[in-house]
């Protein structure tokens, strides 16, 4: 059954619609043909690996690279899962705060698939790295471009999940992000003050 699903290539529709029409992607995901939940975790797994490779190509090459693509990949993937879990929970919480129905499973699927454009970062950056054509600039440039693209996909996906307009969806997605950043910042300040107090 699983082999037939694999051979049918219906799973490829999720990738196609993630890039071309995120709203259609959400509609297809709801049909669960096949169930996208477990497939979706492949994407952060691959994105994390590609990030390690791009970062390694940008930096100095040492033997530590072999640790990075084995233990580092596992560790960063677990951290990515952790971040996905927390962020999707926050978005779902915000949705419920706005009086919408909570559905964290669908949000996790959309969040995972929204990271798909990040997979194209490595080949594009690698081209500039090999040619030696402003690799630093393109590293930052492509990071920003793919971050914005992923954000737009996620916002459209959330908009389709809850049948709300783009603006409201934008607020629902960005607000938890800002709140999380503020919280981390405050914790960092607190930690720093504690350290200063301990040193004194």
């Amino acid at each position: 059954m699983k082999l037939e699903t694999l051979k049918s290539l219906r799973w490829a529709d999720y990738f196609i619609y993630t890039l071309s029409d995120p709203r259609e992607f959400v509609r297809r995901a709801r049909q669960k043909d096949p169930d996208p939940f477990f497939i979706s975790f492949l994407i952060p797994c691959i994105v994390v690996l590609f990030d390690i490779l791009a970062f390694s190509a940008a930096g100095r090459e040492t033997g530590f690279f072999y640790y990075k693509i084995s233990y580092g990949w596992i560790m960063l993937f677990i951290i990515a899962l952790f971040k996905i879990g927390i962020y999707s929970s926050l978005v779902d919480l915000t949705a419920q705060f706005f009086g919408l129905k909570g559905n964290v499973r669908e949000i996790i699927v959309v969040l995972n698939f929204s990271m798909f454009p990040g997979i194209f970062f490595l080949p594009l950056y690698y081209l500039s790295s090999v040619t030696g054509f402003a690799p630093g600039f393109f590293y930052v440039f492509f990071s920003i471009v793919f971050f914005i693209w992923s954000l737009l996909i996620f916002i459209q996906g959330v908009s389709e999940i809850h049948s709300i307009d783009f603006g409201k969806s934008f607020v629902m997605v960005v607000l938890p992000g800002i709140a999380a950043v503020l919280l981390i910042f405050l914790v960092f300040i607190l930690f720093f003050i504690m350290l200063a107090g301990y040193a004194a």
Partner: protein, 315 residues
């Protein structure tokens, strides 16, 4: 829809392949670094010696294209500029393996080396298989020149040549229609014999470039022009003969040149040596591009361009 799915699968496969290539490339870079002759016991920071390579025919832009190792005069001058600004670089070893090249490109490198020399950055030239004509011109800008016994050097002189295919054209009944604004516009044209006036004009240009060559070599080597002119008749010589004529300072290897650079710059023998790394893919693309370069006539190994005056040793 089926077609789009297959396209997406193809794209994902390509991405997987790119990831594999990236892993292999980075792995090769690491292997190259760890198997280097300069071991980790040498400190990786602090005052040291920079290595600059001048390889192949000297041209303004080089012949390895966007994907290969940059090797034209412009990139060499740029690399020298980086070394000039880097306060860690107290000496530069210029590794030369070149039969020479165009006058302008050679002079660009020469002038840039002089700039570094005036800033008291020690320059030591290390000659490889061939450092003749323009290759020697570049070396003469250095404070000290080291060559191997068997290095081919010398060939102090200027050359310009183009094939005369008139008889071949006549044989096949090929005629050229030339409409020109001035009588010298089609100088060095391959379809006709050269006129005496054209020959005289070119000879004047060659002589001027030659005198400049001799003057610059004399300046760089702290010699009189009269000492150089007797051996500046275009003759090639090996390292041993070049030492006899004082065109070089020492017989030795690249390693000897690096040690000499450290000695002249008052550095420790274990001072770091800095050299720009190239990726395995740059080496691969560079060698492919130079092999497939359309400027080379297949099978001759000769560089064909009828409109250039060159400091070049024709092998």
């Amino acid at each position: 829809m089926e077609r789009q799915r297959k396209l997406m699968v193809a794209i994902l496969s390509m991405l997987a392949l790119i990831a594999v290539i990236a892993v292999v490339d980075i792995g090769l870079k690491i292997e190259k670094k760890t198997s280097s002759e300069m071991k980790i016991q040498i400190p990786e920071f602090g005052p040291g010696v920079g290595i600059l390579r001048v390889e192949g025919p000297i041209e303004m832009s080089g012949n390895t294209g966007q994907f290969g190792i940059p090797n034209g005069a412009e990139s060499i001058v740029s690399a020298l500029g980086e070394m000039e600004k880097d306060s860690s670089i107290k000496a530069v070893v210029v590794r030369i393996n070149s039969p020479g090249g165009t006058v302008a490109a050679t002079q660009e490198i020469y002038q840039k080396l002089w700039k570094l020399r005036k800033k008291n950055i020690v320059l030591v030239a290390s000659m490889g298989d061939v450092a003749a004509s323009g290759g020697y011109y570049v070396a003469s800008a250095c404070n000290y020149i080291v060559a191997n016994y068997g290095t081919i050097t010398g060939s102090i002189g200027v050359i310009a040549f183009s094939p005369n295919l008139k008889r071949l054209f006549d044989r096949f009944g090929i005629q050229m229609n030339v409409i020109k604004s001035g009588k010298y516009k089609d100088i060095l044209a391959t379809h006709r014999d050269m006129t005496a006036a054209e020959r005289s004009l070119l000879q004047e240009m060659i002589d001027l470039s030659y005198h400049k060559f001799v003057k610059d070599v004399a300046l760089g080597r702290n010699m009189n022009q009269d000492e150089i002119i007797p051996v500046a008749d275009g003759r090639v010589m090996n390292g041993e003969s070049a030492l006899k004529y004082r065109l070089i300072d020492q017989l030795g290897t690249f390693e000897d040149a690096v040690l000499k650079a450290k000695e002249l710059a008052h550095l420790d023998p274990d001072a770091p040596v800095y050299e720009k790394q190239v990726t395995p893919f740059q080496q691969l693309f560079g060698s492919l591009k130079s092999l497939l370069s359309e400027r080379y006539l297949p099978g001759t190994g000769h560089f064909y361009n009828p409109h250039r005056i060159e400091y070049r040793y024709i092998q």
